[in-house]
Symmetry: C2
């Protein structure tokens, strides 16, 4: 009896640790974003890195793409389509010259991440729930609050440019 | 007695999980880099993200800074100096325009990570072992092999530019 209790505690601890490492899509908090109803997945800032990018023009940011465990596995294997439960997070920051290297080189040399910029975006794969948008739900949060419905109406059309890659722009950076 | 065995198994499992998430500096493999004797820490590609950057000029890459658990904690708290056991990893890739967004915008819009470039670098904190270089051991590996001694002779002098930040260029990207 005692043994069973201990085993249950163990299973609970291990399950807890795993959950903590990679929240399921249900572990989310705050207000849901319009249209797709996606909430901010808990612990996403601790997810592993898929890739990095810089956007020019109006966006003018430097960004990182993180993924939950399902996203990382699929991205590494280059296996499409992404499985249900995949969540991909796009973080972005202002694109700032680093003072120390500008001084050393006499011109901008390094550009680094400054304050958060252009919101945090998520793609959530649920092939049944989001059947009408290629199996993906999209969301953007600005300082923790969902962006407008107008913003969310732009997601699918832009990602259609990479329909052949299951609507995902990024590729895993080895 | 049975209980003790189970408890030991639990402790072992949890310790194993923690180790797996964040290898100690001892869990390393391959050839040691010159001067500082640093080896490639196992599982570093799964470490959490500290920040991202782009380097212009000859380097011309886009990069990510990852850290083991000690590095992440210290970087988030902005607490200096970094504690012994900290390992910071700098990965870099070629800086490539993304074809799909160049087509859509009629000019380069997105720059993404291509093939690995400029090696993988590590900073390992051990205030006793590396007392003569500010407490840090430096290493660069090109395609898994240690770079030359000449390359390793350049680390400390360059990082001296940010001595006030414990020789670390990057800051945590929130």
């Amino acid at each position: 009896m005692r043994l069973h209790v201990v085993v249950l505690v163990v299973v609970g601890l291990v399950a807890g640790a795993v959950t903590n490492m990679s929240p399921a899509s249900g572990d989310a908090s705050g207000d849901a974003a319009p249209i797709f109803g996606v909430k901010i997945p808990e612990g996403y800032r601790d997810w592993r890195l898929i890739s990095v990018a810089h956007e020019e023009g109006k966006l003018n940011d430097i960004r990182a793409i993180l993924g939950n465990d399902l996203a990382i596995k699929a991205a590494r294997e280059g296996k499409l389509p992404y499985p249900d439960g995949t969540i991909i997070a796009r973080l972005a920051w202002s694109y700032d010259p680093l003072a120390e290297s500008s001084e050393a080189f006499g011109r901008p040399q390094s550009y680094v991440a400054g304050a958060p910029k252009n919101g945090v975006q998520f793609m959530v794969k649920d092939s049944r729930k989001y059947a009408s948008s290629g199996g993906w739900g999209f969301a953007q949060f600005d300082q923790g609050k969902p962006a407008s419905e107008a913003v969310h109406n732009t997601c699918s059309s832009c990602h259609a440019a990479v329909k052949a890659r299951d609507f995902v722009f990024n590729r895993y950076a080895p």
